[in-house]
Amino acid sequence: MRFSENGLYVERYTKCATCGALIYHQEKQQLLTCDGVIYCSQWCIDWKKAREARRSKPQNTTMSLSSQE
């Protein structure tokens, strides 16, 4: 979250692409990016990669249900 120079309003809300946590501007030096996307931690980058790999294979959840099925 980036504040204006006078601190009176928010100019931009920045969130981690995986967990959605708000990232404050003062933490920007610690920001992690991967493929141009911002993350709050290496854990979130790793999770996203693992998720994509897992979802490329069918039927890998223990149970897959839907309320309308």
Partner: protein, 565 residues
């Protein structure tokens, strides 16, 4: 520290939080606090971790840690002085939705900051497009009332008058709002004074050490509970039927629960992109709903504090229906999307922990809000009215009948109070027979409230759900009954839904419908889904259902194959 002292301090702090709630209930002006109890009270440490909380509104309980921590990012502890009270409701900075106002007050002992007393309450009027704050057709946050970043409403024990003036100039009922805001302040004042008594009795070091140990104790107990759940990835999907704006579009809540060892990751990444209408949840909602679901599946005797939440990680991608991006609308996320998320997590875990999950509950608070100018007094009135729903059947019992949805724990306003305070006469209020889904354990039943308008005009809005997709059953249980909102205009004979009567895009979400004197409204709340094969339900339970009016003889014959002896 010895476990006895830790337990005594835990119980003492929970009692303080309950007493804070009683003060709030007794001093508030609006029925949403005095009758519905739509608030919660807690104590937090210097990091914003919740130390203790009273058993009021679960959505606010799970939301409290993120709310306080978010405020402390903008008003750090070194800028907080004795007698300050901080106010906040911003949904994009840890908040739940615009009506939810958080107050917290520092607790200083000998000039040392020891923690915070916290009260979160649903202020029923926040300005915006509609009286009552729930605009079913909002398309941006600015339609949903005033947004308050963390500010000091009291400084050093004195009112920050400029903040008060700004707040009260932006709402339709400034007198009622003033009373309700004062009630929230009374709650944190009491929390501060009672906690100081405890610290004086035990000493600062014992209080601090016990607080730390209490969080660790809850974490250990929660980890032990999670260890007992089989490892795996569990998925489920449920739907929200409408956003009130895009006609006939449905939205997906999809969850993957990753359980490994003593930790759990709740990943919402398959959920729909954020809606145009006001059904989006905030990060606070997504987090709170995950906590709520886990607390429902685990030992209720674990002390409720931030230690419970340490093993739970929540992944709510931005720009989705579970983590709205600015300036998307969000007021229904905390009331409608939250229970849908909880139900989706419970659905995912239904095979992993069948004895600790339930079929779908009605999953809506009805959120019927109205306002207008009283023809007799000339005063503006506003009400936020909550309805109960049927809860889902469980592995050991039928679902609860006609109680507030899983994230609310609120009470419907008694008819006597409702009719005294507002210009309606309630003509009918009764359980809806056959609305509980059939099952070995039946879903709870919903109910119908029918009322006639006594004022020249009442402006009504609503944010509800389950008019289209019925609450699902589990393990062979049947679906629960649908909800409905119907109007019978004066001088007509046909009940119509909001699409038919007013050309709205949704039957369950609408804004600023003008109900005239003599018009009738009928609010039908959904029932809960059944649990287990209806064929396995004990005959004597079915007979009792018929006798008590939960199930009709015809319904029993159809759903259970029942024949009277």
């Amino acid at each position: 520290m010895d476990v006895v002292t830790v337990n005594i301090l835990d119980s003492t702090m929970v009692s303080i939080c309950r007493e804070m709630g009683i003060v709030l209930m007794k001093t508030a002006y609006s029925t949403i606090f005095s009758e519905a109890l739509d608030f919660t009270c807690g104590l937090a440490n210097l990091n914003g971790d919740m130390l203790a909380v009273a058993d009021y509104c679960p959505s606010q309980i799970g939301g409290m840690p993120l709310l306080v921590k978010s405020c402390l990012r903008e008003i750090p502890t070194w800028e907080i002085e004795e007698g300050d009270i901080i106010l906040h409701n911003d949904p994009y900075r840890g908040g739940l939705h615009t009506p939810e106002h958080t107050f917290f007050k520092p607790i200083f002992m000998d000039r040392e900051l020891m923690g915070f007393a916290v009260a979160i309450g649903h202020i029923q009027e926040v300005g915006g497009m509609v009286p009552g704050g729930f605009c079913g057709e909002a398309t941006e946050i600015f339609h949903e009332g005033i947004r308050v970043p963390p500010v000091k409403i009291k400084k050093g024990g004195k009112d920050n008058v400029e903040v008060w003036k700004l707040l009260l100039a932006n709402v339709r009922t400034p007198r009622a709002n003033y009373g309700d805001l004062r009630a929230l302040i009374a709650a944190v004042d009491l929390g501060e004074s009672r906690t100081l008594q405890v610290i004086k009795k035990y000493g600062k070091s014992v209080f601090s050490e016990a607080s730390r140990d209490l969080l660790d104790y809850s974490e250990r107990r929660m980890r032990a509970e999670l260890e007992a759940i089989p490892d795996g990835i569990y998925g489920f999907r449920d739907y929200i039927e409408s956003d009130g704006v895009d006609e006939d579009r449905t939205y997906v809540i999809e969850v993957e629960v990753h359980k490994f060892g003593s930790e759990i990751v709740i990943d919402y990444s398959g959920s729909s992109t954020q809606a145009k209408g006001p059904i989006n949840g905030t990060l606070g909602v997504a987090t709170s709903a995950a906590y709520n679901a886990v607390l429902h599946m685990t030992d209720p005797s674990i002390p409720r504090n931030s230690g419970c939440f340490r093993p739970i990680r929540v992944l709510a991608p931005p720009g989705t229906i579970v983590n709205v991006d600015y300036p998307g609308p969000e007021v229904g996320g905390n009331t409608e999307t939250h229970p849908r998320i909880v139900g989706t997590i419970l659905g995912a875990m239904a095979n992993a922990v069948p004895n600790r999950t339930m079929a779908a509950e009605g999953g809506t608070h009805s959120n019927f809000v109205f306002g207008g100018v009283d023809a007799e007094t000339g005063d503006f009135f506003i009400c936020y009215d909550i309805a109960g729903v049927g809860w889902g059947g469980r592995a050991f019992a039928d679902g609860n009948d006609a109680v507030d949805s899983i994230n609310g724990n609120c009470r419907p306003t008694p008819i006597e109070v409702f009719e005294t305070r507002f210009p309606w006469r309630v003509e009918y209020l009764a359980f809806d027979i056959d609305s509980g889904g059939a099952g070995e354990f039946r879903g709870g039943v919903g109910y119908t409230k029918q009322m006639i308008c006594l004022n020249d005009e009442v402006i009504c809005s609503q944010m509800t759900d389950r008019h289209v997709f019925a609450p699902w059953g589990l393990h062979g249980g049947r679906t629960g009954g649908l909800g409905a909102t119907l109007v019978l205009k004066a001088g007509t004979k046909e009940w119509q839904n909001m699409r038919e009567a007013y050309g709205k895009k949704s039957t369950s979400r609408y804004s600023n419908v003008r109900i005239r004197k003599g018009d009738r409204l009928r609010l039908v709340s959904p029932g809960g889904g059944g649990y287990g094969d209806p064929g396995n339900r004990q005959r004597e339970l079915i007979a009792n259902d018929i006798k008590q009016g939960y199930v009709s003889l015809k319904g029993a014959e159809k759903e259970y194959g029942y024949r009277e002896a």
